[in-house]
């Protein structure tokens, strides 16, 4: 450009035509080139240089002869050079700014296109902006809950420009940043989303940050804020969708498990109902079709009575389970009840059949009465004793007893069976649940302990299980004692 200006000046000097030399128009070439290359400063500087270089041809003419037509043409050339240089330079600068702005916005969108945490997103944004905005230093700060995420630094010092703008939400320019010989300019604009300052974009430069550039940075702050907020919302939405999918998967798995358990239950319950029914049907046909001695009739009637009771117990359990599943407590008719006779009566029922396990009863003397439904207590004891017998080896002793505990009575049923695996202990009171090792070896509906728990809790009591593998299991039922007058 400088060589071009010098060449044109030399041509004018060699031409000898003074200020009216046609070569003066050639100044436009380096001036426009400088404007297109360097923008407004380049255009203005080149135009100024062209005017300075052509002045020695124009001014002497004015000095000698006044404002002649040639001198006027020279002055018009000054004006044209100035206007063309400044105008084309300004236009070039503006076009460049607009182009940079659109490129920056595209880069900004690209930086946030992928899923990323806030600190990663900020770092990407900073990398995208730092190379395009032409500042010496750039930092991005964003609020993250109660803390701050900083890209381009370690922390935000209290009272710093970034901290001030973060608090006020108002952009701020500092003319004298740092302690250099010549000052740096620092500018901070808030990152705005939803009318709130969610962060700060701060830049520094040794040189001017003109008003137009500051306005562009403010607009960029709004874009970045919005983009960050969108990224945050998208990330939250993705997280929510993933959580929802996980919940749906878990619910489906649960439903499938429930369906499987209920199918198993129906099969087991059918089998459990069929066994006493078959016995009743068989023995009743025998009694109807054959003439049997009275002792045999009595024995068969006894068996039929036991099976009918078993059938009745299963049906009662099913009815109670149905109430539990509907969120209702089992129906109770509570009276003051002596515990020991109730235990003895239930144990007698088990002793009447085929005795496979000795049952030992140990009750404390003067045991208080409990406030309980007799039928419910019988079913609680029957279920617990039935389980103890079912899951302990033949001939092993099953112990049942009662003792006073504070204002309550604790009834314990203990066996010397294989115990319950630790991982199954937490689930044994769930309806239909059967411990994996029990499911394949013994019959059972999986509702007994669920009914026991519901019945005990309906009395205001609690049930507790302690079990050790290969040693045995002890179930303790705590029922409130009756404190009123005995009728």
């Amino acid at each position: 450009m400088a060589a071009g200006l010098a060449a044109v000046t030399a041509l004018i000097a060699l031409d000898g035509a003074g200020p009216a030399s046609l070569f003066r128009h050639a100044y436009l070439v380096p001036v426009v080139m400088a404007a297109l290359r360097f923008g407004a400063p380049g255009g203005a500087l080149a135009a100024g240089a062209a005017v300075l270089l052509s002045a020695p041809f124009v001014l002497p003419e004015i000095e000698r002869s006044g404002l002649t037509p040639d001198a006027a043409e020279g002055l018009v050339t000054f004006a044209v050079l100035g206007i063309v240089g400044a105008l084309s330079g300004v236009l070039r600068t503006r076009v460049g700014r607009h182009r940079r702005r659109y490129e920056t916005l595209v880069a900004l969108q690209r930086a946030l296109a992928d899923e990323a945490t806030l600190d990663v997103a900020l770092t990407r944004l900073r990398a995208a902006l730092a190379g395009r905005l032409g500042f010496d230093d750039l930092v991005l700060v964003a609020r993250d809950g109660t803390g701050l995420v900083v890209a381009g630094g370690d922390r935000v010092a209290p009272g710093s420009l970034v901290a001030r703008v973060l608090d006020s939400g108002i952009p701020e320019l500092v003319w004298d940043a740092g302690s250099d010989v010549l000052s740096r300019r620092a500018f901070a604009a808030p990152l705005v989303a939803g009318g709130q300052a969610i962060g700060v974009l701060a830049v520094e430069r040794k040189g001017e940050i003109p008003a137009e550039e500051r306005a562009a940075l403010e607009a960029l702050g709004a874009h970045v804020g919005l983009a960050l907020e969108n990224a945050r919302l998208a990330s939250r939405q993705r997280l929510f969708a993933a959580e929802l999918a996980e919940k749906v998967r878990a619910a489906r798995q649960e439903l499938e498990e429930l369906d499987r358990v209920k199918s198993t239950f129906v099969a087991i319950a059918s089998h459990e109902l069929r066994t006493p029914l078959t016995a009743l049907q068989g023995f009743s046909e025998l009694l109807a079709l054959r003439r049997l001695p009275p002792e045999e009739v009595s024995r068969l009637a006894g068996i039929m009575r036991r099976e009918a009771k078993r059938l009745g117990r299963i049906v009662s359990d099913l009815l109670d389970l149905s109430r539990i599943e509907r969120g209702l407590d089992p129906a109770l008719c509570r009276i003051p009840l002596a515990v020991e006779p109730a235990i003895v009566a239930t144990v007698d029922l088990f002793r009447q059949g085929t005795v496979t396990h000795p049952i030992a009863i140990t009750c404390e003397p003067s045991l208080p009465r409990v406030d309980a439904d007799p039928d419910a207590l019988e079913r609680i004891l029957t279920n617990l004793l039935s389980n103890a017998i079912k899951y302990s080896p033949l001939g092993s002793v099953v112990r049942v007893g009662g003792r006073a505990v504070g204002g309550a009575v604790a009834i314990e049923v203990a066996d010397a069976g294989r115990g319950i695996p630790a991982e199954a202990l937490g689930r044994i009171f769930e309806p239909y649940y059967r411990a994996p090792d029990a499911a394949g070896t013994t019959h059972g509906t999986g509702i007994g302990l669920a009914v026991v728990k519901a019945l005990v809790e309906a009395h205001g009591g609690a049930v507790r299980v302690e079990s050790a593998p290969a040693i045995g299991t002890r179930v303790t039922v705590i029922l409130p004692a009756f404190h009123g007058p005995v009728p």
């Binding site: 010092a157 710093s160 003319w175 004298d176 010549l182 740096r184």
Partner: protein, 268 residues
Amino acid sequence: MWALDQPCAPRTGRLFADTPLALLVVLALGAATTWALVELGVLAPPAMHVAGVTAGHGALLATAFAWARVRSGSGVVVVALLGLAASVNALGVFGAFAYLGPPLWVAWLARRGRLAGLGLGAPVSLRCVLAGAGAGAFLASHLLVSTSRTLGVHVRLDHMSEVLAALGYDVGANVLAAECFFRGALFNRAQRRWSFTVAATLATTSYVVRYLVDPLLPKSIELVVGAVFYLALLGAINCWLLWWSESLVPGLLSALVFFAAYRTLGSG
């Protein structure tokens, strides 16, 4: 990053804070007394020149030093050196070498890092030095060409003793004081408060006004217009050189080259 790490306190000092008012008053009183004594015939007329150089340039340099927070004794020393140089210069042609005193004192202070606030002392790149020399040479050559074509003034080498004395004055007083104060101090302070354009306009306007009130400037309209034109350009360019290079050296060089060319001009 400053915006992140450092507390951002609001500016409290005024533009003219730290001005050595006592020294300025003493210098003004000294110049006024000398003028009165010259008028009364007690002192010879050259004494007024000595007093003017000492008071005018001494005030600029001492203020620049004070604004750069250099110890006040340094300002007094430079005023004394200026007075001595102006006095010795009046004695003969080789007295111009006495004007080397103030720049040597400034160089010594700069070497010890005391004038960093004025942009002196830090290393400066050859590119910046060449840019300063180039800017001065461009303005100087333009001045030579345009004055020869318009005013009929040409380069003359038959008055070397005067040129040497003037160059000594430029090196030791004129350029040194103007660049230290108008660029190193005034522009530097102003650009910490306002934009480059405002700061450069303020510094350059003050710079031009300083020459317009200088009794040594010829008062013909052509020369005044020319002085305003070239001094404004020189001032603006030197502001930009300081801004760009962060050093006062390119501006000093630019102004020295320009004034050296100016001193060689003579009519006839």
